[in-house]
């Protein structure tokens, strides 16, 4: 009996102790999407180099903010590293969720000058533009467009479009041209199937329609506030140009979107495009490697940055990587960040499908030719604008989602009324936060 016990128990204890003595580990939280898989792949190299195991929790976009912000607000220890949305930086810094990284950067020779300035401004600094860093730019991104190049290349469609509009069917330079083109495809039969114009963001629940409509509003020159009088929004956010942009977005929804596209964001836009329903899709650069790779059955995709209108501008996406201040493994997390900031790792990050913000990668002579969407990405990162990054950004996002959706999809009231009401809501939020 003793022998049997010995034979049985020794391996059990050995296994138990070996598990306990296993290498240290880190948990990184991000959204569940293509770049997250690329990061998981990349991080294997970190584990190989340091022996530190990497665990990942990827949350679907629809519940990403809820899950992560609840975790931070509850001072949870689930995550050691978090790749949080750019708009969270204010709350992360103000409420002490993120570790301030200045000393760490100085001690390890990580310079923010080595990263694209727009991404440093957007993903890392709080208060905005000050040299107080709470994240390392991890994933550059902006809202852009993909289109069916194979349809655009058809001579009969080109001729018909030119005779109708007087200019060539090609990459639209302005939103007016974009409208001409997407309405041209609306309801058109191609290869025996009815097609539609554009899959645009109309999602109500999280941030979808706001990210979409601001792509138009920025191009019309909208500013959130008076640059000389912070939080004074009247005449800026609800300017005549901004209202015109919102009206234009509604026109795009009515005349170009496929039927039933009333609550659509990233995945729904991708589905509409991949299934051959639409000529254009609005989406984040993060998805373009996947779209490009999956071109098949005659589909050829082209990509372009957000068109200009009164000015050239694009909605910022993307995220920085932060160390969660409630983590018990901050040292290990910083070690990961140090590794991730290395130029060679950043190059591999881009090669795997992640959008590096490192200047060595972006400035490399090969960069523009490395992918068909690389030039668009570079162009976009030079003109990006972001939503409020205030600690109260969720409170600011929700009324915008509701009011804009109510006007664009629901057709309730006017664009001007929607913007005026959003300002009222925002003033209430800023008042409660002691900002005005």
């Amino acid at each position: 009996m003793k022998k049997i016990l010995t034979v049985f128990l020794i391996p059990v204890f050995a296994l138990f102790f070996s598990l306990n003595a296993k290498a240290e580990s880190l948990t990184l939280g991000w959204a569940a999407w293509d770049p997250a898989n690329a990061l998981q792949e990349l991080s294997k190299e970190f584990t190989a180099e340091t022996g530190i195991d990497m665990n990942f929790e990827f949350v679907p976009w629809t519940s990403f903010a809820d899950r992560m912000l609840n975790e931070l607000n509850n001072q949870g220890k689930t995550f050691d590293l978090l790749i949080g949305d750019s708009q969270w930086i204010g709350a992360g810094a103000t409420y002490g969720h993120y570790v301030k990284l200045n000393d760490f950067f100085d001690a390890n020779g990580i310079s923010m000058d080595d990263f694209n300035p727009a991404t440093v401004y957007a993903y890392s600094t709080w208060p905005k533009g000050t040299p107080n860093y709470y994240a390392l730019p991890a994933m550059g991104d902006a809202l852009a467009w993909a289109y069916r190049k194979d349809w655009f290349d058809r001579p009969e469609l080109q001729a018909e479009f030119k005779s109708k509009h007087g200019y060539d069917l090609g990459v639209p330079k302005t939103w007016d041209e974009l409208y001409d083109m997407c309405s041209f495809f609306q309801g058109r039969e191609i290869d025996g199937v009815v097609r539609y114009g554009a899959a645009i963001n109309t999602e109500r629940g999280s941030e979808g329609i706001t990210m979409g409509v601001t792509a138009a509003m920025y191009a019309w020159g909208m500013e959130y506030e008076d640059p000389n009088n912070p939080y004074s929004m009247d005449g800026y956010f609800n300017s005549a140009e901004a209202a015109e942009a919102v009206e234009f977005y509604r026109k795009m929804y009515e005349d170009c979107a496929p039927p039933g596209h009333s609550d659509a964001y990233m995945v729904a836009n991708l589905d509409a495009y991949k299934s051959g329903q639409v000529a254009f899709q609005m989406n984040w650069y993060a998805f373009w490697p996947g779209v490009y790779k999956e071109d098949s059955d005659g589909r050829e995709s082209g990509f372009f940055a957000n068109p200009c209108q009164n000015v050239c501008a694009a909605t910022l996406g993307g995220q920085g990587i932060s160390v969660v201040s409630y983590s018990d493994k901050q040292d290990l997390a910083l070690e990961y960040m140090k590794w991730f900031a290395r130029p060679d790792i950043q190059q591999k990050w881009w090669d795997l499908g992640g959008y590096s913000c490192h200047m060595d990668v972006l400035g490399s002579p090969d960069f523009v030719d490395s992918a068909v969407y690389a030039q668009g990405f570079l162009d976009s990162m030079g003109i990006v604008k972001d939503f409020w990054q205030e600690p109260t950004f969720v409170e600011l996002m929700l009324p915008m989602q509701e009011r804009i959706h109510d006007y664009v999809v629901n057709g309730k009231g006017s664009a001007q009324e929607a913007l005026d009401k959003i300002i009222e809501d925002w003033e209430e939020v800023f008042e409660a936060d002691g900002k005005i």
Binding site: D66, L69, N70, N73, Q75, A91, Y95, G96, E203, R204, G205, P258, P259, G260, H261, S262, D263, Q277, V394, E395, L398, E402, R403, H405, D406, Y407, V409, N410, G411, K412, A432
Partner: protein, 300 residues
């Protein structure tokens, strides 16, 4: 075991009763009563749960005044009332109708009952997701079926502010009518046959039998089912969030969805506590009145 029995033998009936009730009471106090009292307390403050280190200030009735004076809150209440009233009406009519049909003996009765009850067993999230596909104007079955009977052309149930409130009513009715049906069926099967036999002897028509025997007998059961459904639908959240996210715009944003957004997205804990208290009082008040009316009907 024997020791335990001996110990119990030494206790009075009352003590044993308390012994059994106490764990439930403790759970009830910890999970229901304490949070309720805490929420009432919070409702008089300007507390934000996400603003760490910021002490909540006492603001008196400010939150309540703000909520009751806000036009949008009344819009949400109207949307909720539309949803609750129509689902109750439809579920009562269809549920009772189905129960009357299934109360007859025919081949396949049991199989049909099982099939009808299936939607009730599904998760609301699953139901929400697959109805979004059914409602899809391009590939959804709903458009196809409706257009089969009358050509309305392409219409978007979820994307239209006129149709979206009805889209959630239809799905809830589809899912929960079996519940009303089952309760009504139980009521129908409890009616003694001799009542109908006596009515036949008195030459009462089928309609008279229905009005004077079936309906009065099944009414308390139906009202009970509607009470449960009314309370549930007043708090409806998951199904509608999956289906419409409260949209388009705010066309289907029920009070509970708005409450969740205020409490856990905007983190206005004090304000949303006041809103929760108002909703609780409303539902509690309606529930009490309803139960009293139901008891009066039973007494008849």
């Amino acid at each position: 075991m024997k020791g335990a029995v001996k110990k119990f033998k030494g206790l009075s009936d009352k003590a044993i009763a308390w012994l059994f009730i106490t764990p439930t009471l403790i759970l009830l106090l910890a999970i229901n009563i304490y949070p309720l009292i805490y929420a009432i307390r919070m409702s008089f403050t300007n507390f934000y749960a996400n603003k760490i280190g910021r002490e909540p200030k006492f603001v008196g009735l400010k939150n309540y005044k703000k909520i009751l004076g806000k036009e949008e809150i009344w819009e949400k209440m109207q949307i909720t009332a539309h949803f609750v009233c129509w689902t109750l009406v439809l579920q009562a009519l269809i549920g009772l109708g189905l129960a009357l049909l299934l109360n007859r003996k025919f081949k396949g009765n049991e199989l049909l009952t099982t099939l009808i009850v299936l939607p009730m067993m599904l998760s609301p999230a699953v139901v929400g997701v697959f109805w979004t596909y059914l409602y899809n104007p391009q590939v959804g079955l709903f458009n196809y079926v409706v257009n089969f009977f009358y050509d309305f052309g392409v219409f978007d149930m979820i994307g239209s502010s006129t149709l979206a409130p009805w889209s959630i009513v239809i799905v809830d009715t589809w899912m929960w009518t079996p519940f009303t049906m089952l309760i009504c069926l139980a009521g129908l099967r409890s009616i003694p046959n001799y009542l109908y036999e006596a009515a036949e002897v008195d030459r009462a028509s089928k309609w008279q039998q229905f009005i004077h025997i079936t309906l009065p007998s099944v009414l308390p059961f139906l009202l009970l089912a509607l009470l449960f459904r009314g309370i549930e639908n007043f708090k409806m959240f998951d199904l509608v969030v999956e289906l419409t996210s409260g949209g388009p715009g705010s066309a289907t944003e029920l009070a509970s969805i708005n409450l969740k957004r205020e409490a856990f997205e905007k983190w206005k804990t004090g304000y949303s506590s006041a809103f929760a208290v108002i909703l609780f009082v409303t539902i509690f008040g309606f529930g009490n009145v309803y139960v009293k009316v139901m008891n009066k009907i039973k007494e008849r």
